[in-house]
Symmetry: C2
Subunit: 282 residues, 2 copies
C-alpha cells in the first residue's frame, strides 16, 4: 500500500476535530506534497482521512475556484491559479521588492548566483534568487523552496542570529531533520553557529555539496534579530582566499543597506502560540 504521509508527525493539535475548512486545506497540502503529475482520489481520501465522496466534493470545489485541476487519468493536482495567487504572498513585508536591486547588483558584480532567504518557522524559505552564469547546486533550490534552518550558508546565518531561546528551540527541532539530510552532528552545528555569530558571516566550503561553496550574511532588524539572509552560491574554486574577503565585504554592505530599508511595521512575525499545531506539517 501507499505508505502513509512521510513527514507528518503531529499534523494538527486536534486529532480529527478540525473544521471542514481546515480539512479541505489539508487537501491542498496533500496535493502539494504529492506527485506533481497528480494524485488519485482514493489516495487523497486516504491521506486526508476522509471518505471518497467527501474528498471528491471538496476537490470539486477546489477545482471550481481554480485551486486544483483534474489532469488526464482523473488525477487531481494543484492548478496554476494557485501558483499565481500565491506569488503575491511573498510580498508581505515588501522585503522582496526592497531586496531585488541588491540581488541584481550582487549578481552583476560577483557573477554568481545570489539568494534571498527569509525565516519561516523552523525553515528558511527562498524568497528570490538571481542566477549567475555558473551552474549551481543548492539546498534551497527554486524560489519558494525551503530548507531547515541551519543547513546552508544563508540558513545558518539566520539561525546564528536568532534570540537565544528561539535558536535553542529551532536547534532542538531541527537536529533530526538535519541528520536526515545526512549532514552535521549537533556539536559541529553549534560550533558553526558560534563562529557565524562571532564573525558575522558564514562560509561553507566544507563540502556539503561537492565542488560548491557559498557565503551567507544575515539581514538584521533593529533589535539585532535575523529576519533574512543574503547568500552567494558558487563553485568552490571561485571562493579562494583572495576573493573571499571581497565577497564577504560586498555582501555585508548590501545586507546592511537592506536592513535600513526594512519595514519596522511588521518585523515581529509572530508564531502561533498554540503548541506545535501548525509547524508540524511539511
Amino acid at each position: 500500500m501507499v505508505s502513509t504521509n512521510s513527514l507528518n508527525q503531529m499534523t494538527t493539535s486536534d486529532t480529527d476535530s478540525a473544521s471542514s475548512l481546515r480539512r479541505a486545506l489539508k487537501l491542498l497540502r496533500i496535493l502539494s506534497e504529492g506527485n506533481p503529475e497528480g494524485l488519485r482520489l482514493k489516495d487523497i481520501a486516504e491521506a486526508a482521512g476522509c471518505s471518497q465522496p467527501t474528498a471528491h466534493r471538496m476537490l470539486q470545489d477546489l477545482a471550481a475556484e481554480g485551486f486544483a485541476e483534474q489532469a488526464a487519468g482523473k488525477r487531481y493536482r494543484l492548478a496554476l491559479d494557485f501558483y499565481v495567487l500565491a506569488a503575491r504572498a511573498g510580498q508581505a513585508s515588501g522585503l522582496r521588492d526592497a531586496a531585488r536591486p541588491a540581488l541584481l547588483r550582487l549578481s552583476a558584480t560577483l557573477s554568481d548566483t545570489i539568494f534571498l532567504l527569509v525565516r519561516n518557522g523552523f525553515d528558511a524559505v527562498c524568497l528570490d534568487r538571481v542566477e549567475g552564469p555558473f551552474p549551481i547546486r543548492s539546498f534551497t533550490g527554486d524560489i519558494g523552496g525551503k530548507v531547515p534552518l541551519g543547513l546552508g550558508q544563508g540558513s545558518l546565518a539566520i539561525l546564528a542570529n536568532l534570540p537565544e531561546d528561539e535558536q535553542e528551540a529551532v536547534i532542538r527541532f531541527n537536529i533530526p531533520r538535519l541528520l536526515d539530510r545526512g549532514f552535521l552532528d549537533e556539536a559541529s552545528l553549534r560550533g558553526a553557529l558560534a563562529q557565524a555569530r562571532a564573525q558575522g558571516w558564514v562560509n561553507t566550503s566544507t563540502g556539503l555539496i561537492p565542488g560548491m561553496a557559498g557565503v551567507g550574511v544575515p539581514v538584521l532588524d533593529a533589535q539585532g534579530r535575523a529576519v533574512a539572509a543574503l547568500s552567494v552560491g558558487t563553485l568552490a574554486e571561485r571562493l579562494n582566499a583572495d576573493r573571499l574577503p571581497h565577497v564577504v565585504r560586498i555582501l555585508q554592505s548590501e545586507a546592511q543597506a537592506l536592513a535600513g530599508k526594512l519595514n519596522p511595521f511588521d518585523v515581529a512575525l509572530r508564531y502561533p502560540s498554540r503548541s506545535l499545531s501548525t509547524i508540524g506539517a511539511n
Copy 2:
C-alpha cells in the same frame, strides 16, 4: 473601496450559492488581491459578502493551517507557508524543469532577460525567468505574474498559435482588458496576431514600454497548439536589425528543442507506477 474584481474563468458558476469551502477560498483570493500589508476584517467580510464573524472564523482556520497570518494591526494577509506550498504547483507539467537549462543558455548567450510563459485561461503566466544584466521593465513582472493573452511578446506568441475558436474566445474576452491597460485596439491586435502566426515569432519594439523591446516565440505541442512561450526582454537599442535575426533563430531553436521534451501527459501510457513513485520525493 475594495472592488471584487473577479476575473474568474468560465469554470466558475458564479451564483452566490457557493459552498462554504468555495466562499473560504474566495477569501484567499481577496487576500491575494488586496494590499500585501494586510486587510482589515471588516473589508474582507464586505468583499466576500459575508458577515464579520463568519469571515473571522474562516480566517482563523486559514491561519491555523498556515495559509494566512495576522500582521500587526490585526490585519490579515497571506502567509509564507502559502507561498511555499504553491511553489510546487508550477511543477505540474514539469515544463519548468525542462525549460530551465534552455533559459540559462539563452540568458548566458544573449546577455538578456529570458521569460518562460505558459497559458492559463485568458492569461499568460510567468513560470520562470532568468535575468540578464540589463534592467528591464516588463508586463509580466515577477515569477507568478500574469498578463492578459495578447499583451507582450510571449503572450502574443501564445495567443497567435491557439486553435481558431479558442483564440477568438480569448480575444473577445481580453479586448476590454487590453484597452484598460491602454494598448492596442482590436484591429492592430488582429494584425499583430496574423503576422505572428505567419512569421512564427513576435517582435515588439513598437513602443509598448518606451525603450524596451523583445522577441517571443511559441512552444508548440504535438498538435501545433501553443502551450508556452519563450521570450527575451531587453533594451530597444539591443534589438537592432543586425542582432534581431540571431536572437530569433536561437530562441526558435530552443523552443523547438523544448517542444520535443514536452511530456505527452494526455494518456496514461505509463506503466503502473505502483511501487514507490506515487510518493513524491522532496
